[in-house]
Symmetry: C2
Amino acid sequence: MSTSATPRERLLDAAGELFYRDGVNIGVDALCKAAGVSKKSMYQLFRSKDELIAESLASRGPAYQLLLHPGPEDDRSPRERILTVFERQDELVASGNYLGCPYVSTAVELKNPEHPGSVVARHFKQQLTDFFHRELVKAGAEDPSTLAIQLTMVFDGANARAVVRAQPLGGIGAVTAAALLDAAGVHAGEFALN
Amino acid sequence: MSTSATPRERLLDAAGELFYRDGVNIGVDALCKAAGVSKKSMYQLFRSKDELIAESLASRGPAYQLLLHPGPEDDRSPRERILTVFERQDELVASGNYLGCPYVSTAVELKNPEHPGSVVARHFKQQLTDFFHRELVKAGAEDPSTLAIQLTMVFDGANARAVVRAQPLGGIGAVTAAALLDAAGVHAGEFALN
DNA sequence: GAAAACGGAAACCGATCGGTTTACTGTGAG
DNA sequence: CTCACAGTAAACCGATCGGTTTCCGTTTTC
Protein backbone atom coordinates (compact mmCIF):
# COMPACT_ATOMS: atom_id res chain seq x y z
CA MET A 1 0.00 0.00 0.00
CA SER A 2 0.95 3.62 -0.29
CA THR A 3 2.00 4.01 3.34
CA SER A 4 4.77 1.46 2.86
CA ALA A 5 7.01 4.05 1.22
CA THR A 6 8.72 6.60 3.40
CA PRO A 7 6.99 9.95 3.99
CA ARG A 8 9.57 11.57 1.75
CA GLU A 9 8.82 9.19 -1.14
CA ARG A 10 5.08 9.55 -0.68
CA LEU A 11 5.42 13.32 -0.69
CA LEU A 12 7.58 13.40 -3.80
CA ASP A 13 5.18 11.10 -5.62
CA ALA A 14 2.06 13.02 -4.66
CA ALA A 15 3.75 16.35 -5.39
CA GLY A 16 4.92 15.19 -8.79
CA GLU A 17 1.41 14.17 -9.73
CA LEU A 18 -0.55 17.04 -8.18
CA PHE A 19 1.78 19.83 -9.22
CA TYR A 20 1.50 18.47 -12.74
CA ARG A 21 -2.24 17.86 -12.75
CA ASP A 22 -3.39 20.93 -10.83
CA GLY A 23 -0.46 23.30 -11.20
CA VAL A 24 2.10 24.51 -8.69
CA ASN A 25 -0.50 26.66 -6.98
CA ILE A 26 -2.17 23.70 -5.33
CA GLY A 27 -2.10 24.09 -1.58
CA VAL A 28 0.30 22.41 0.79
CA ASP A 29 -2.62 21.06 2.82
CA ALA A 30 -4.13 19.23 -0.15
CA LEU A 31 -0.71 17.93 -1.07
CA CYS A 32 0.02 16.51 2.36
CA LYS A 33 -3.41 14.99 2.62
CA ALA A 34 -2.92 13.23 -0.72
CA ALA A 35 0.47 11.97 0.41
CA GLY A 36 -0.80 10.89 3.82
CA VAL A 37 1.87 13.00 5.46
CA SER A 38 1.49 15.71 8.08
CA LYS A 39 2.51 19.25 7.31
CA LYS A 40 4.93 19.04 10.18
CA SER A 41 6.75 16.16 8.52
CA MET A 42 6.70 17.92 5.18
CA TYR A 43 8.31 21.03 6.57
CA GLN A 44 11.06 19.11 8.29
CA LEU A 45 11.75 17.14 5.11
CA PHE A 46 11.69 20.19 2.83
CA ARG A 47 12.61 23.74 3.63
CA SER A 48 9.65 25.19 1.74
CA LYS A 49 7.01 24.47 -0.85
CA ASP A 50 9.35 25.87 -3.48
CA GLU A 51 11.99 23.33 -2.59
CA LEU A 52 9.40 20.55 -2.76
CA ILE A 53 8.46 21.75 -6.24
CA ALA A 54 12.06 21.54 -7.38
CA GLU A 55 12.76 18.19 -5.75
CA SER A 56 9.60 16.52 -6.96
CA LEU A 57 10.34 17.74 -10.46
CA ALA A 58 13.85 16.33 -10.26
CA SER A 59 12.62 13.02 -8.86
CA ARG A 60 10.26 12.60 -11.80
CA GLY A 61 13.08 13.04 -14.28
CA PRO A 62 14.41 9.50 -14.68
CA ALA A 63 10.95 7.97 -15.13
CA TYR A 64 9.98 10.61 -17.66
CA GLN A 65 13.16 10.02 -19.62
CA LEU A 66 12.68 6.26 -19.46
CA LEU A 67 9.23 6.83 -20.91
CA LEU A 68 10.50 8.84 -23.87
CA HIS A 69 14.04 7.76 -24.66
CA PRO A 70 14.83 4.43 -26.30
CA GLY A 71 17.01 2.29 -24.10
CA PRO A 72 20.63 1.45 -24.84
CA GLU A 73 19.53 -2.04 -25.88
CA ASP A 74 17.67 -0.51 -28.81
CA ASP A 75 20.30 -0.83 -31.52
CA ARG A 76 18.41 0.79 -34.33
CA SER A 77 19.88 3.71 -36.21
CA PRO A 78 20.23 7.12 -34.54
CA ARG A 79 17.46 8.46 -36.75
CA GLU A 80 15.08 5.77 -35.61
CA ARG A 81 16.08 6.24 -32.00
CA ILE A 82 15.38 9.96 -32.29
CA LEU A 83 12.02 9.41 -33.92
CA THR A 84 11.12 7.03 -31.11
CA VAL A 85 10.93 10.01 -28.75
CA PHE A 86 8.28 11.65 -30.92
CA GLU A 87 6.34 8.44 -31.32
CA ARG A 88 6.28 7.92 -27.57
CA GLN A 89 5.16 11.52 -27.14
CA ASP A 90 2.35 10.83 -29.54
CA GLU A 91 1.24 7.84 -27.52
CA LEU A 92 1.37 9.86 -24.31
CA VAL A 93 -0.85 12.55 -25.81
CA ALA A 94 -3.25 9.99 -27.27
CA SER A 95 -3.55 8.21 -23.93
CA GLY A 96 -5.30 11.29 -22.51
CA ASN A 97 -4.68 13.38 -19.40
CA TYR A 98 -1.45 14.62 -20.93
CA LEU A 99 -0.83 18.21 -19.91
CA GLY A 100 2.43 18.87 -21.70
CA CYS A 101 6.01 18.46 -20.63
CA PRO A 102 6.10 18.76 -16.82
CA TYR A 103 9.29 20.78 -16.97
CA VAL A 104 8.09 23.33 -19.47
CA SER A 105 4.69 23.62 -17.81
CA THR A 106 6.25 24.20 -14.42
CA ALA A 107 8.68 26.78 -15.79
CA VAL A 108 5.77 28.56 -17.45
CA GLU A 109 3.79 28.60 -14.23
CA LEU A 110 6.69 29.71 -12.06
CA LYS A 111 7.53 32.67 -14.33
CA ASN A 112 10.72 33.27 -12.37
CA PRO A 113 13.68 31.58 -14.16
CA GLU A 114 15.68 31.65 -10.92
CA HIS A 115 13.13 29.62 -9.00
CA PRO A 116 14.71 26.29 -8.00
CA GLY A 117 12.01 24.51 -9.99
CA SER A 118 12.92 26.49 -13.09
CA VAL A 119 16.54 25.50 -12.68
CA VAL A 120 15.57 21.83 -12.58
CA ALA A 121 13.38 22.31 -15.65
CA ARG A 122 16.25 23.87 -17.55
CA HIS A 123 18.50 20.99 -16.62
CA PHE A 124 16.12 18.29 -17.82
CA LYS A 125 15.30 20.08 -21.04
CA GLN A 126 19.02 20.19 -21.71
CA GLN A 127 19.18 16.44 -21.17
CA LEU A 128 16.71 15.88 -23.99
CA THR A 129 18.76 18.11 -26.26
CA ASP A 130 21.87 16.19 -25.20
CA PHE A 131 20.23 12.89 -26.13
CA PHE A 132 19.42 14.21 -29.59
CA HIS A 133 22.95 15.54 -29.88
CA ARG A 134 24.55 12.20 -29.03
CA GLU A 135 22.44 10.40 -31.61
CA LEU A 136 23.18 13.02 -34.26
CA VAL A 137 26.89 12.70 -33.65
CA LYS A 138 26.55 8.93 -34.01
CA ALA A 139 24.77 9.52 -37.29
CA GLY A 140 27.49 11.88 -38.47
CA ALA A 141 25.18 14.85 -38.87
CA GLU A 142 26.81 18.01 -40.12
CA ASP A 143 25.60 20.43 -37.43
CA PRO A 144 24.43 18.25 -34.53
CA SER A 145 24.22 21.13 -32.04
CA THR A 146 21.77 23.18 -34.06
CA LEU A 147 19.75 20.18 -35.12
CA ALA A 148 19.49 18.89 -31.54
CA ILE A 149 18.04 22.25 -30.48
CA GLN A 150 15.64 22.21 -33.40
CA LEU A 151 14.39 18.75 -32.50
CA THR A 152 13.86 19.85 -28.91
CA MET A 153 11.84 22.78 -30.19
CA VAL A 154 9.70 20.51 -32.30
CA PHE A 155 9.15 18.34 -29.24
CA ASP A 156 8.03 21.31 -27.15
CA GLY A 157 6.00 22.74 -29.98
CA ALA A 158 4.13 19.47 -30.22
CA ASN A 159 3.55 19.62 -26.48
CA ALA A 160 2.14 23.11 -26.76
CA ARG A 161 -0.16 21.96 -29.53
CA ALA A 162 -1.33 19.03 -27.43
CA VAL A 163 -2.09 21.29 -24.48
CA VAL A 164 -3.88 24.00 -26.43
CA ARG A 165 -5.91 21.65 -28.61
CA ALA A 166 -6.46 18.84 -26.12
CA GLN A 167 -6.50 16.40 -29.00
CA PRO A 168 -4.18 13.67 -30.30
CA LEU A 169 -1.24 14.91 -32.34
CA GLY A 170 -1.62 12.42 -35.17
CA GLY A 171 2.09 11.95 -35.63
CA ILE A 172 2.79 15.54 -36.62
CA GLY A 173 5.77 15.72 -34.27
CA ALA A 174 7.48 12.69 -35.76
CA VAL A 175 6.71 13.90 -39.27
CA THR A 176 8.28 17.27 -38.54
CA ALA A 177 11.32 15.76 -36.86
CA ALA A 178 11.75 13.44 -39.84
CA ALA A 179 11.58 16.42 -42.21
CA LEU A 180 14.36 18.16 -40.31
CA LEU A 181 16.44 14.98 -40.23
CA ASP A 182 15.89 14.50 -43.96
CA ALA A 183 16.94 18.06 -44.66
CA ALA A 184 20.11 17.50 -42.64
CA GLY A 185 20.87 14.29 -44.49
CA VAL A 186 20.31 11.96 -41.55
CA HIS A 187 18.78 8.93 -43.20
CA ALA A 188 17.28 5.68 -41.99
CA GLY A 189 19.73 3.00 -40.98
CA GLU A 190 22.60 5.40 -41.29
CA PHE A 191 25.51 5.43 -38.88
CA ALA A 192 28.60 7.57 -39.10
CA LEU A 193 31.55 6.01 -40.85
CA ASN A 194 34.46 5.41 -38.54
CA MET B 1 -3.63 59.44 -17.72
CA SER B 2 -4.77 55.93 -17.10
CA THR B 3 -8.11 56.93 -15.60
CA SER B 4 -9.19 58.47 -18.90
CA ALA B 5 -10.11 55.07 -20.29
CA THR B 6 -13.31 53.43 -19.14
CA PRO B 7 -13.16 51.06 -16.15
CA ARG B 8 -13.71 48.19 -18.56
CA GLU B 9 -10.71 49.16 -20.69
CA ARG B 10 -8.53 49.75 -17.67
CA LEU B 11 -9.48 46.35 -16.30
CA LEU B 12 -8.81 44.54 -19.56
CA ASP B 13 -5.44 46.24 -19.91
CA ALA B 14 -4.34 45.55 -16.35
CA ALA B 15 -5.63 42.00 -16.52
CA GLY B 16 -3.84 41.34 -19.80
CA GLU B 17 -0.58 42.50 -18.32
CA LEU B 18 -0.82 41.01 -14.84
CA PHE B 19 -2.25 37.65 -15.86
CA TYR B 20 0.66 37.40 -18.27
CA ARG B 21 3.37 38.65 -15.94
CA ASP B 22 2.24 36.96 -12.71
CA GLY B 23 0.01 34.16 -13.95
CA VAL B 24 -3.73 33.68 -13.77
CA ASN B 25 -3.54 33.00 -10.04
CA ILE B 26 -2.99 36.64 -9.24
CA GLY B 27 -5.73 37.88 -6.95
CA VAL B 28 -8.72 39.93 -7.98
CA ASP B 29 -7.86 42.53 -5.36
CA ALA B 30 -4.40 43.18 -6.78
CA LEU B 31 -5.88 43.29 -10.25
CA CYS B 32 -8.52 45.85 -9.40
CA LYS B 33 -6.02 47.97 -7.51
CA ALA B 34 -3.70 47.99 -10.52
CA ALA B 35 -6.58 48.94 -12.78
CA GLY B 36 -7.88 51.61 -10.42
CA VAL B 37 -11.28 49.95 -10.43
CA SER B 38 -13.35 48.77 -7.50
CA LYS B 39 -14.21 45.11 -7.15
CA LYS B 40 -17.85 46.03 -7.28
CA SER B 41 -17.39 47.54 -10.72
CA MET B 42 -15.36 44.57 -11.86
CA TYR B 43 -18.02 42.11 -10.86
CA GLN B 44 -20.75 44.03 -12.61
CA LEU B 45 -18.64 44.28 -15.76
CA PHE B 46 -17.59 40.62 -15.72
CA ARG B 47 -19.44 37.64 -14.38
CA SER B 48 -16.36 36.11 -12.80
CA LYS B 49 -12.60 36.16 -12.74
CA ASP B 50 -12.64 33.33 -15.28
CA GLU B 51 -14.59 35.46 -17.70
CA LEU B 52 -12.15 38.33 -17.18
CA ILE B 53 -9.31 35.96 -18.00
CA ALA B 54 -10.95 34.98 -21.25
CA GLU B 55 -11.95 38.50 -22.25
CA SER B 56 -8.61 40.06 -21.43
CA LEU B 57 -6.90 37.33 -23.44
CA ALA B 58 -9.19 38.00 -26.37
CA SER B 59 -8.69 41.75 -26.14
CA ARG B 60 -4.93 41.32 -26.35
CA GLY B 61 -5.23 39.32 -29.55
CA PRO B 62 -5.20 42.01 -32.23
CA ALA B 63 -2.19 43.83 -30.73
CA TYR B 64 -0.26 40.59 -30.39
CA GLN B 65 -0.98 39.67 -33.98
CA LEU B 66 -0.06 43.16 -35.17
CA LEU B 67 3.23 42.69 -33.35
CA LEU B 68 4.03 39.40 -35.08
CA HIS B 69 2.33 39.33 -38.46
CA PRO B 70 3.56 41.41 -41.37
CA GLY B 71 0.92 43.83 -42.54
CA PRO B 72 -0.93 43.57 -45.85
CA GLU B 73 1.23 46.41 -47.17
CA ASP B 74 4.27 44.14 -46.93
CA ASP B 75 4.38 42.77 -50.45
CA ARG B 76 7.37 40.49 -50.06
CA SER B 77 7.08 36.82 -50.90
CA PRO B 78 5.06 34.46 -48.71
CA ARG B 79 8.26 32.86 -47.48
CA GLU B 80 9.62 36.18 -46.32
CA ARG B 81 6.32 37.13 -44.74
CA ILE B 82 6.30 33.86 -42.82
CA LEU B 83 9.87 34.29 -41.65
CA THR B 84 8.98 37.77 -40.44
CA VAL B 85 6.91 36.18 -37.67
CA PHE B 86 9.93 34.31 -36.36
CA GLU B 87 12.18 37.34 -36.63
CA ARG B 88 9.71 39.42 -34.65
CA GLN B 89 9.48 36.65 -32.08
CA ASP B 90 13.25 36.76 -31.79
CA GLU B 91 13.16 40.48 -31.14
CA LEU B 92 10.45 40.05 -28.51
CA VAL B 93 12.52 37.46 -26.67
CA ALA B 94 15.67 39.54 -26.94
CA SER B 95 13.89 42.61 -25.58
CA GLY B 96 13.54 40.82 -22.23
CA ASN B 97 10.53 40.21 -19.98
CA TYR B 98 9.12 37.85 -22.55
CA LEU B 99 7.31 34.99 -20.86
CA GLY B 100 6.18 33.02 -23.89
CA CYS B 101 3.02 33.17 -25.95
CA PRO B 102 0.26 34.52 -23.68
CA TYR B 103 -2.23 32.05 -25.14
CA VAL B 104 -0.13 28.95 -24.64
CA SER B 105 1.00 30.07 -21.19
CA THR B 106 -2.55 30.71 -20.09
CA ALA B 107 -3.76 27.39 -21.47
CA VAL B 108 -0.93 25.64 -19.63
CA GLU B 109 -1.83 27.36 -16.39
CA LEU B 110 -5.55 26.78 -16.68
CA LYS B 111 -5.10 23.03 -17.31
CA ASN B 112 -8.78 22.72 -18.14
CA PRO B 113 -9.26 22.89 -21.96
CA GLU B 114 -12.92 23.84 -21.47
CA HIS B 115 -12.11 26.94 -19.47
CA PRO B 116 -13.25 30.00 -21.42
CA GLY B 117 -9.66 31.23 -21.43
CA SER B 118 -8.51 27.99 -23.01
CA VAL B 119 -11.12 28.34 -25.71
CA VAL B 120 -9.81 31.81 -26.55
CA ALA B 121 -6.25 30.48 -26.57
CA ARG B 122 -7.21 27.74 -29.00
CA HIS B 123 -8.87 30.26 -31.27
CA PHE B 124 -5.87 32.59 -31.46
CA LYS B 125 -3.39 29.77 -31.95
CA GLN B 126 -5.51 28.68 -34.89
CA GLN B 127 -5.29 32.19 -36.30
CA LEU B 128 -1.51 31.95 -36.44
CA THR B 129 -1.78 28.62 -38.22
CA ASP B 130 -4.30 30.17 -40.60
CA PHE B 131 -1.90 33.00 -41.41
CA PHE B 132 0.83 30.50 -42.27
CA HIS B 133 -1.66 28.52 -44.31
CA ARG B 134 -2.73 31.54 -46.37
CA GLU B 135 0.86 32.41 -47.16
CA LEU B 136 1.71 28.83 -48.07
CA VAL B 137 -1.23 28.65 -50.44
CA LYS B 138 -0.04 31.88 -52.04
CA ALA B 139 3.37 30.28 -52.44
CA GLY B 140 1.84 27.19 -53.99
CA ALA B 141 3.17 24.84 -51.33
CA GLU B 142 2.29 21.22 -51.83
CA ASP B 143 0.81 20.46 -48.40
CA PRO B 144 0.02 23.85 -46.87
CA SER B 145 -2.11 22.43 -44.05
CA THR B 146 0.60 20.21 -42.62
CA LEU B 147 3.31 22.79 -43.10
CA ALA B 148 1.24 25.51 -41.41
CA ILE B 149 0.87 23.29 -38.36
CA GLN B 150 4.57 22.53 -38.38
CA LEU B 151 5.46 26.20 -38.49
CA THR B 152 3.12 26.87 -35.58
CA MET B 153 4.85 24.12 -33.65
CA VAL B 154 8.24 25.63 -34.35
CA PHE B 155 6.90 28.97 -33.12
CA ASP B 156 5.65 27.45 -29.88
CA GLY B 157 8.76 25.35 -29.47
CA ALA B 158 10.85 28.51 -29.72
CA ASN B 159 8.59 30.10 -27.09
CA ALA B 160 9.11 27.15 -24.77
CA ARG B 161 12.85 27.42 -25.26
CA ALA B 162 12.75 31.13 -24.50
CA VAL B 163 10.79 30.55 -21.29
CA VAL B 164 12.87 27.67 -20.01
CA ARG B 165 16.25 29.19 -20.84
CA ALA B 166 15.40 32.84 -20.25
CA GLN B 167 17.91 33.78 -22.92
CA PRO B 168 17.73 35.16 -26.45
CA LEU B 169 16.91 32.65 -29.15
CA GLY B 170 19.61 33.69 -31.56
CA GLY B 171 17.45 33.20 -34.62
CA ILE B 172 16.97 29.48 -34.14
CA GLY B 173 13.24 29.74 -34.80
CA ALA B 174 13.67 31.46 -38.14
CA VAL B 175 16.42 29.03 -39.11
CA THR B 176 14.18 26.07 -38.32
CA ALA B 177 11.20 27.54 -40.13
CA ALA B 178 13.41 28.22 -43.14
CA ALA B 179 14.62 24.62 -43.10
CA LEU B 180 11.03 23.36 -43.20
CA LEU B 181 10.14 25.80 -45.98
CA ASP B 182 13.20 24.74 -47.93
CA ALA B 183 12.30 21.08 -47.55
CA ALA B 184 8.79 21.85 -48.83
CA GLY B 185 10.16 23.73 -51.81
CA VAL B 186 8.94 27.17 -50.71
CA HIS B 187 11.72 29.43 -51.94
CA ALA B 188 12.54 33.08 -51.56
CA GLY B 189 10.64 35.43 -53.82
CA GLU B 190 8.41 32.63 -55.01
CA PHE B 191 4.71 33.11 -55.63
CA ALA B 192 2.32 30.54 -57.01
CA LEU B 193 1.73 30.64 -60.73
CA ASN B 194 -1.76 31.68 -61.66
C1' DG C 1 11.72 -1.17 30.33
C1' DA C 2 13.05 3.74 29.81
C1' DA C 3 14.21 7.20 26.72
C1' DA C 4 14.36 9.30 22.55
C1' DA C 5 13.10 9.99 17.93
C1' DC C 6 9.41 9.71 14.25
C1' DG C 7 5.41 11.22 12.52
C1' DG C 8 0.38 12.08 12.15
C1' DA C 9 -3.85 15.15 13.60
C1' DA C 10 -5.13 19.44 14.25
C1' DA C 11 -5.07 24.02 16.13
C1' DC C 12 -3.14 28.22 15.15
C1' DC C 13 -0.96 32.41 12.69
C1' DG C 14 -1.60 36.55 9.59
C1' DA C 15 -2.53 37.02 4.84
C1' DT C 16 -5.04 36.34 0.83
C1' DC C 17 -8.48 33.93 -2.07
C1' DG C 18 -13.12 34.85 -5.13
C1' DG C 19 -17.14 37.18 -4.42
C1' DT C 20 -20.91 40.26 -2.12
C1' DT C 21 -22.57 44.15 0.18
C1' DT C 22 -22.93 48.65 2.24
C1' DA C 23 -22.05 53.39 2.25
C1' DC C 24 -20.63 57.36 0.14
C1' DT C 25 -19.17 60.63 -3.76
C1' DG C 26 -19.45 62.78 -8.02
C1' DT C 27 -21.90 63.81 -12.22
C1' DG C 28 -25.27 64.45 -15.78
C1' DA C 29 -30.35 64.74 -17.06
C1' DG C 30 -34.82 66.33 -16.22
C1' DC D 1 -32.89 71.45 -7.44
C1' DT D 2 -33.45 66.77 -7.50
C1' DC D 3 -33.20 62.30 -8.75
C1' DA D 4 -30.85 58.48 -10.77
C1' DC D 5 -26.81 56.43 -12.06
C1' DA D 6 -21.79 55.15 -12.21
C1' DG D 7 -18.16 54.24 -9.65
C1' DT D 8 -14.84 54.00 -5.50
C1' DA D 9 -13.53 52.60 -0.90
C1' DA D 10 -13.89 49.42 2.39
C1' DA D 11 -16.04 46.08 5.33
C1' DC D 12 -17.47 41.58 5.17
C1' DC D 13 -18.08 36.37 4.02
C1' DG D 14 -16.23 31.55 4.43
C1' DA D 15 -12.40 29.23 2.53
C1' DT D 16 -7.76 28.61 1.71
C1' DC D 17 -2.91 30.19 1.42
C1' DG D 18 2.25 28.97 3.28
C1' DG D 19 4.12 28.02 7.48
C1' DT D 20 4.54 26.94 12.75
C1' DT D 21 3.36 24.77 16.90
C1' DT D 22 1.26 21.71 20.24
C1' DC D 23 -0.17 17.30 21.53
C1' DC D 24 -0.06 12.53 21.52
C1' DG D 25 0.66 7.81 19.98
C1' DT D 26 3.93 4.58 17.99
C1' DT D 27 8.19 2.78 16.97
C1' DT D 28 12.97 2.27 17.50
C1' DT D 29 17.11 2.03 20.32
C1' DC D 30 19.98 0.94 24.13
